[in-house]
């Protein structure tokens, strides 16, 4: 029905296993009526508070319903003509007023105090926490790890405190991980933070919770909780992969990871920006500056200074990637756009040297031999070979989303 979602769910729920590393288990949806799965140290407290309030509310509503129902039946008037007077005109009782003021007051004070303590916990990351920088940008998340790796997904180690320092490069976003019960706005011009300690291995969705425009609802990613050993292996593997990857493949990976795919299609359909199909060597009308031929330098300039020469008919929506992409990645993008993206041919994979990467989201269809059960024997896709980024699901042709 919806390939974007199918892909996303495929990615989330059937995470690809990888070269000998244990795969984060598939986590079925929570079967609790209210809350999603509990995967962090905060879930117990938050859910406990929710439960307590739920029961208090249920008792209150039962009382309201019972009183209304009983009074309507017991004191019903037979007809207007009967002119029945009320049984009583009693209209005040200070004792009652005080009672029903004081009792709720104590209840809410109790709730407030507990909520306050829980909130202080939520906002007090341990000093020794592993730190990841998260960057929100229309419409993708990026996570920068202390080892020097940038990745569109949040990978963390089971049982290890992780502190996420959040920033935004454009408008306000909000990093929301329901299974961890954490959320924090990404505000341009300042850092915010959140922390948690994963308590369940698995793969869970990340959302943007603060409205940020066109593709707000596609600004998704996922958090992958590995065992500590698998996490270390994953980081090492990702770094090695990027360093040794052929340029075109690095370009495609970057296309999917850096958010290019959100606005630039590969199938010729116009999105927020021009499609990459056939773009290289094409004559483009430039807003206020005649025409030019798209060449390597124009691509590079458009990545670093996107507002300098705008193709007519498209809004000045693109953020700069200056300082965010390494020279090698920019070169990779140039090669990718010049080659496969322009011609529409698939990227020719070099033999994947080190096998696949754990946690690379499964592409459109589950890879044969990589069932969700976490079989250790992978038949992996080459790294970054396909729409590997659930945060940029619009990599699909437009029609594919529908």
């Amino acid at each position: 029905m919806n390939t974007m979602l199918a892909r996303f769910l495929g990615g989330v729920l059937a995470a690809a296993p990888a070269g000998g590393l244990p795969d984060p288990p598939k986590v079925p949806h929570s079967n609790w009526f209210w809350m999603p799965n509990s995967a962090s140290n905060f879930a117990a407290a938050t859910d406990g508070m929710f439960d307590a309030l739920m029961w208090i509310s249920a008792v209150c509503m039962l009382g309201v319903a019972a009183a209304i129902g009983y009074f309507c039946w017991r004191y019903r008037a037979t007809s207007r003509e009967a002119n029945e007077a009320a049984e009583s005109q009693e209209d005040h009782s200070n004792a009652l007023e005080i009672t029903w003021s004081i009792i709720p007051l104590f209840v809410v004070i109790g709730v407030f105090v507990v909520g306050f303590k829980q909130f202080v916990d939520l906002r007090s990351p341990p000093r020794a926490a592993y730190e990841v920088h998260a960057t929100g940008q229309r419409w993708k998340w990026g996570f920068e790890y202390p080892e020097g790796l940038t990745h569109p997904e949040l990978h963390v180690a089971m049982g290890k405190d992780v502190r996420i320092l959040i920033q935004s490069v454009d408008v306000i976003h909000s990093l929301y991980i329901p299974e961890m019960r954490v959320k924090m706005d990404a505000v341009p011009g300042r850092y915010t933070e959140l922390w948690f300690r994963p308590t369940q291995e698995g793969t869970f969705p990340i959302y943007c919770a603060e409205y940020c425009g066109t593709s707000h609802s596609d600004m998704l990613s996922r958090v992958v909780v590995h065992s500590p050993e698998a996490f270390q292996a994953w980081v090492a593997e990702e770094i090695r992969k990027i360093e040794s990857m052929p340029l075109v493949e690095l370009g495609e990976l970057t296309y999917n990871q850096a958010g290019c795919s959100t606005c630039h299609s590969l199938d010729g359909s116009a999105k927020v920006g021009p499609s990459f199909k056939g773009v290289f060597g094409r004559q483009e009308k430039i807003f206020g500056a005649g025409t030019l031929t798209v060449d390597e330098n124009y691509i590079r300039e458009s990545i670093l200074e996107p507002q300098a020469k705008l193709v007519e008919g498209f809004p000045p929506a693109m953020p700069t990637f200056k300082g965010q992409l390494s020279d090698r990645r920019i070169l990779g993008l140039v090669e990718f756009i010049k080659g496969p993206a322009s011609t529409g041919e698939p990227v020719v994979k070099a033999a994947a040297p080190g096998g696949p990467v754990p946690g690379s989201p499964a592409p459109d269809s589950p890879v044969p031999g990589s069932p969700a059960s976490g079989s250790p024997v992978p038949a992996p896709p080459a790294p970054g070979s396909q729409g590997a980024n659930p945060a940029a699901p619009s990599a699909d042709p437009k029609g594919g989303q529908q």
């Binding site: 004191y75 207007r80 002119n83 029945e84 909000s174 929301y176 066109t214």
Partner: protein, 559 residues
């Protein structure tokens, strides 16, 4: 009763007022557009508000239809974003804020005071024109390239998006002045035009509610005006106030915005408290329980409402200390709110309850507003709010309060005062049926949204995970049912204008002053200024008369 004049009004209405009422006093479109009569202004407001309600309702149904499936159902991303923005802006600024005060309040307030009009009739008309101008700006924004910022206009999105935000902002700016004018007028009227004998504590609770509302309107709305103006200035000439790219602070906008918009929530719901207080007392044939507690709790809510805006910002990066203070004061508001609900329910105890349509709406209100209020406590707990903030739980919560509270009370009030406004009775059976359908529809629409929210579905999402689809579809079904119910209401109300039975002066046996003049009221409202010698909820002297299908006051002056 020592006021023969007031009694005489009911027993022997002046013969000429049968033919000459405010609806027939003058003829022609200009007699409406240039009228200074509060009743006509109220009716004009009512028509416009209902028109806006239809518009906002259509947007709501389009949104719910789009959400039947993830991905595209009927519209594209951007259109969807514009739809929810317009739905919010229209419903908040054009429907709920003016709904009870400007439409019902304009009509009822001077009548409940036994007065001829509000203190400043020209200001009153001006406020209607401002409403029309503000609404036109919103419509202009609609037909050009409608804003897609959400009704909250958060920066820096709102200062950078390419849609026509400025007309929408300017519309809201002007609507704010309309609201301020109404508030000023009401405060002055209640201070200066109360009839002889009507002390503050003999005022109907509807007036107390309108008074509290008016105070908030006058004090809070200017802040919105300034904020929107700053936003316009930033967009227009690039002065950096909110946009960090220009050296501004985006969170500052949220503070300014919620400094108005949280009190605005009480502008929307406090008048509803007033309507419900009236209805429950009248239809229980019993004095309202805890009059002073209900009256003063509105005032308490109005004051406390100014100090809690930061609870919209627990995850905005606001400091823990600030969050704690805002959370604490937020919980205090639960107390006056709880007091009201308990007093209303106790009023029914040992009463004589007539379950006519207005009363059904009041009971409907008690249920949904209690849910809305209790879920507010969930959101006031900072730790839980971290999980629930900006999810469908919030959407469900404020729709239970705004739709289930304010709009339900508005419709209750509309049914309660309809005979007085237009001199016709509507079809009671259809009234009860539609109210019942609406109750089912509302709960079906919004209850599933609580579950969506706790399970992690963020709000303002065009696209969503398939696991959420059944709940979304349930919610959409409820929305369609509500749509059908409102069509039924429109049909039987409009039909009553032509075919309804003539309404008696006092069909419900109320003791507030508006029911002591004929229905519809004459142009001058009252033959003589009524004198008040007792509270507004004394029903012993009102006796049902089968011949006129309404209540008359006992001739004896026993009380």
């Amino acid at each position: 009763m020592t006021s023969p004049s007031a009694t005489a009004d009911v027993l022997a209405p002046p013969a000429e007022s049968e033919s000459d009422n405010y609806l027939t006093h003058d003829k022609g479109i200009l007699s409406w557009l240039l009228t200074l009569d509060h009743k006509r202004i109220g009716v004009m407001y009512l028509m416009c508000v209902m028109g806006a309600f239809l518009l906002g309702g259509v947007f709501a149904l389009l949104i719910r239809t789009e959400l039947l499936t993830p991905g595209r159902t009927i519209v594209e991303h951007d259109t969807y974003n514009q739809l929810f923005t317009l739905h919010g802006a229209v419903m908040v600024f054009l429907v709920i804020i003016p709904g009870i005060p400007a439409a019902l309040g304009n009509f009822v307030l001077p009548l409940q005071l036994g007065a001829k009009d509000v203190a400043f009739p020209r200001l009153n008309l001006a406020s209607w024109y401002l409403w029309m101008i503000g609404a036109s700006f919103l419509v202009v924004s609609l037909v050009t390239n409608a804003a897609d910022t959400g009704w909250t206009f958060y920066t820096p999105y709102s200062t950078t998006t390419t849609t026509s935000v400025i007309p929408a902002l300017f519309g809201a700016f002007i609507l704010g002045f309309s609201s301020i004018f109404t508030g000023l007028n009401f405060i002055t009227t209640m201070h200066k035009l109360r009839p002889p004998g009507m002390t503050w504590f003999r005022m109907p609770l509807f007036l107390w509610a309108l008074y509290s509302t008016a105070v908030i309107q006058v004090l809070a709305t200017p802040v919105l005006a300034i904020t929107l103006l700053m936003l316009i200035v930033e967009r227009f000439i690039g002065i950096g106030i909110f946009d960090p790219a220009l050296g501004g602070d985006p969170v500052l906008f949220q503070h300014f915005f919620w400094f108005y918009s949280h009190p605005a929530v009480y502008i929307m719901i406090v008048p509803a408290f007033g309507v419900v207080s009236e209805i429950i007392a009248v239809f229980s044939r019993k004095r309202i329980f805890g009059y002073k507690f209900i009256a003063l709790s509105s005032v308490a809510i109005a004051i406390l409402g100014f100090l809690v805006w930061g609870h919209h910002m627990f995850v905005s990066g606001q400091s823990v200390l600030a969050g704690t203070i805002f959370s604490g004061i937020t919980f205090l508001i639960a107390i006056p709110t709880a007091i009201k609900v308990f007093n209303w329910i106790t009023t029914m105890y040992k009463g004589r309850i007539h379950l006519d349509t207005p009363m059904l709406y009041a009971l409907f209100f008690l249920w949904v507003f209690s849910i809305g209020g209790l879920t507010g406590i969930f959101l006031g707990v900072m730790s839980l709010d971290v999980h629930l903030h900006d999810t469908y739980f919030v959407v469900a919560h404020f729709h239970y309060v705004m739709m289930g509270g304010a709009v339900t009370a508005f419709f209750g009030g509309l049914h309660y005062w309809w005979p007085k406004m237009f001199g016709r009775m509507y079809d009671e059976k259809w009234g009860r049926t539609a109210c019942g359908l609406l109750f089912v529809g509302l709960n079906l629409t919004f209850f599933p949204q609580f579950i969506l929210g706790t399970r992690g579905m963020p709000r303002r999402y065009y696209n969503y995970l398939v696991e959420f689809q059944p709940l979304h579809q349930l919610s959409s079904m409820g929305a369609y049912l509500m749509g059908i119910s409102f069509v039924i209401v429109a049909v039987y109300l409009l039909r009553s204008l032509r075919k309804g039975e003539p309404a008696p002066a006092n069909p419900w046996g109320s003791n507030t002053l508006e029911w002591r003049t004929v229905s519809p009221p004459p142009y001058y409202n009252f033959h003589d200024t009524p004198e008040v010698v007792e509270g507004p909820y004394e029903y012993a002297d009102w006796v049902y008369d089968k011949r006129i299908r309404g209540y008359v006051r006992k001739a004896s002056d026993a009380s």
